[in-house]
């Protein structure tokens, strides 16, 4: 027995937590539910730490530990085992998921305080943790798929957490349905793998791939199908549209699921399937280009959004594009490295945004009720949104913010750290990981003279510029200048349980990058890979691009009075203003195009099926004219000829026969004594004759 035999505890802790919270926590105070959930997540983290240390203790070539758990299903010759795969990749993911997850659990105490479904929130969070850990730890495609669908379900549940609002439900449904499209590709990929290799265990599949049993064409098909799944889960073109809408969920959810962990599942999946992608150069190039395109377009959209969380959502899509490009190019280390640092700084940014939103709501209430200490605990995002419905106060709208840096210093400073990390300023975490991706793209594209990778490099560099620009714009709009709304003027700093989490995340967003300055992380994840080190040219370029973006952002959005009726300085210049207003702010009209191409035809088809086929044809015509009519005719036949004719006729006929017989017999009773006497006599004569003549 080694420590790895107990690795299943990592998954079990959240399961225990959610079971307790779902069934028993109503007997205790609300705080107990959050403490149990945090304990479950924290124990998971500690166990992951133990596994990490144990794995580090093994020699590099023995760091793939397979922990069989039980036989899941046996169908004929096909045996499906459920087990855990513990290797540097899954352990890295484990650490990211459990650590960031635990911090966000703690943050949620403050953020969800007073929510009417407080316990349920923690049940959902723990369910998400369990699903994500199954996804990461699974040793086969099927096990992974269980977690894959589990996190999708949690995503749906948590986006629609405040289900009183129609828009939230629609966002939840959109996320779920768009992800189904991706899952369709993923399952097809699984089928193709099974048809080719005959097994769905990673070990068998990768062994077959390395032995050349999977030809290039098949590998291309498999990897492209798997990539379809990744575009859904990791929000890449063309299936990214659900992620911005997913911001309807509570902000801790946006941070945990839709920024740090779940959306990176696609990246993890591609990284996990590296042995298959290596066999399919076309897939690798396509994945890299799609990732880079996503990174570029999402970054441009993020420049023109006013919702503080929408900006971060597009930023997440963009950063996921960086990761997908990296793993697509085969630079697994760079991709996973960026995944880890992004988890820190994007969770930080989201939680910081949550803190700002929280403060805006409280500030709004304070400004509504002057000289009254409004009881902070008595409301949450939802109730305040309902209260504010009349005057349409949107606490997410950056146009209403401004000047928050002095009112919420801790949120501000941590946010700046996260923003700088995202922008890629040296020496923060985002710089190191992003630079590694850019370096890999440069090495493979320029030095390797691969055109798609070269395109990817330039797109990523442009995306890095826009990233620096939009995050500068956001920081300036939110924290600098004068408050543009009474709510911003009255915004209080968030409770410590929130800001301390921000501080911890800010620390990691700052220093997490140092893990791979000397190649430590590369050596851990891919012991055989040679650590390239910093490409000085690329690094200088990327820093220059980031500084350029920040500088331009500052120049445009520097604190200054704006002309009346202009909410964004970019609206005024001639060409840029048109692009900003007509292209970027409406997000390239992608939702509208999708509505036109898919959603509306689908709705029309559904209406046709529902009203014409189902209702008019099936119900009205088929049921009325065929089933009901036939039934009526049968019933009439049974009623008239059968029941009335045969059955009633038989009964009535019997009665009539008896009636007739008795009316004839009755006439024997004449009432005349002589007749009776005569019949007695005749009887006697007959009897006597009988005796006499026999």
């Amino acid at each position: 027995m080694t420590v790895f035999d107990f690795a299943w505890l990592i998954i079990i802790f959240p399961v225990i937590g959610l079971t307790f919270n779902a069934f028993f926590s109503t007997r205790f105070k609300e705080e107990i539910a959050s403490y149990v959930a945090i304990a479950a997540s924290g124990l998971s983290f500690l166990m992951s730490l133990v596994v990490l240390i144990a794995l580090m203790g093994l020699p590099p070539d023995a760091r793939t530990v397979h922990v069989p758990l039980y036989t899941w299903a046996v169908i004929g010759n096909f045996k499906l085992d459920a087990g855990l795969l513990i290797d540097p990749l899954s352990t890295t993911m484990l650490m990211v998921v459990t650590f960031v997850g635990t911090l966000i659990h703690i943050y949620s105490i403050g953020y969800m305080h007073g929510d009417s479904r407080y316990r349920r929130f923690f049940v959902d969070l723990n369910l998400f943790m369990a699903s994500m850990l199954i996804l990461v730890l699974g040793d086969s495609y099927v096990t992974m798929f269980v977690g894959w669908e589990g996190v999708g379900l949690c995503s749906y549940l948590l986006i629609g957490f405040w289900f009183e609002k129609e828009a939230n439900n629609n966002a939840a449904k959109k996320a779920f349905i768009v992800n189904r499209v991706g899952d369709f590709g993923f399952t097809l990929g699984m089928f193709l793998i099974f048809a080719t290799v005959g097994s769905l265990q990673y070990a068998d599949v990768f062994h077959a791939a390395e032995n050349g049993q999977v030809i290039t064409g098949v590998a291309t098909a498999i990897t492209l199908l798997l990539f379809v799944g990744a575009t859904g889960k990791s929000a890449q073109i063309p299936l990214y549209v659900w992620l911005p809408d997913a911001m309807a969920g509570p902000t801790p959810v946006s941070a945990l699921i839709h920024a740090a962990t779940m959306v990176t599942a696609g990246v993890y999946m591609i990284a996990r399937n590296h042995p298959l992608f290596v066999l399919a150069p076309f897939s690798q190039e396509l994945v890299a280009v799609v990732g880079a395109l996503t990174a570029f377009f999402a970054a441009t959209i993020a420049m023109a959004q006013f919702d503080i969380k929408k900006v971060l959502a597009y930023s997440t899509i963009s950063q996921l594009g960086f990761m997908v490009t990296a793993v697509g190019m085969g630079a697994t280390v760079a991709g996973i490295f960026h995944l880890g640092t992004h988890a820190f700084f994007k969770a930080l940014l989201f939680l910081g945004a949550g803190s700002v939103i929280h403060a805006m709501e409280h500030g709004h209430h304070k400004s509504q009720i002057p000289n009254t200490q409004y009881p902070i605990s008595k409301h949450d995002e939802e109730t305040s949104r309902q209260v504010d419905k009349e005057e349409k106060f949107d606490p997410n709208d950056m146009r209403l913010m401004g000047g928050l840096s002095s009112r919420m210093p801790l949120t501000f400073w941590t946010y700046v750290v996260g923003a700088a990390s995202l922008a890629g300023l040296v020496p923060l975490a985002g710089f190191w990981s992003k630079d590694e991706i850019l370096g890999e793209a440069f090495a493979k594209g320029m030095t390797g003279a691969n055109v798609p990778f070269m395109i990817a490099f330039w797109l990523l560099l442009a995306a890095a510029f826009f990233t620096a620009f939009y995050i500068t714009r956001q920081v300036l709009m939110v924290f600098f200048g004068r408050p543009r709304h009474a709510a911003a003027a009255h915004a209080p700093e968030s409770p410590r349980v929130m800001t301390y989490v921000l501080a911890i995340l800010a620390f990691f967003a700052a220093v997490a990058g140092f893990i791979n300055v000397t190649g430590l992380f590369t050596h851990w994840l891919e012991p055989e890979e040679l650590f390239a080190g910093l490409n000085l040219g690329v690094a200088v370029t990327s820093i220059a691009v980031a500084l350029l973006g920040i500088g331009l952002g500052y120049w445009v959005y520097r604190p200054r009075p704006l002309p009346n009726g202009v909410d964004d300085p970019l609206r005024t210049p001639p060409v840029v203003g048109w692009v900003f207003t007509k292209v970027l702010n409406p997000k390239y009209w992608v939702d509208e195009v999708y509505d036109f191409l898919f959603v509306n035809p689908f709705k029309r088809l559904a209406n046709f099926l529902a009203f014409t086929i189902d209702w008019r044809f099936w119900h009205d015509w088929f049921h009325d004219s065929v089933i009901a009519a036939a039934f009526k005719r049968t019933a009439r036949f049974l009623a008239n000829p059968i029941d009335l004719g045969i059955i009633d006729g038989a009964v009535n006929g019997l009665g009539r026969v008896i009636n007739w017989c008795s009316s004839k017999l009755r006439q024997v009773q004449t009432g005349y004594v002589r007749n009776y006497a005569l019949s007695v006599l005749l009887g006697v004569v007959v009897i006597v004759a009988y005796f006499a003549l026999r």
Partner: protein, 105 residues
Amino acid sequence: MNDVFPQVLPLYLGLSAVLFSIGVIGVLVRRNAIIIFMSVELMLNSANLAFVAFARYLHQLDGQIIVFFVMTVAAAEVAVGLALIVAIFKTKKSINVDDISTMKG
């Protein structure tokens, strides 16, 4: 002892049969209840005659004893019958049996 009775037995039986037949015809054709009644008595007594004749012929007393019983029963029957006739007469003011046909089917 030279008994001649066996030779004359048919005469007795013939008389008995004649009486019985007269009685039957009387019962069947007459409408007066009292006449019918008398005819019934005639039939009974014709039977009595036959009994007595056979008792003499067979040298057994059984027939004669039965005759006594018959006469007793006949007397009782007369009593009941006459009572019935009186009762009918009281209600119907008639002893014509054809008037008493309310039981006809």
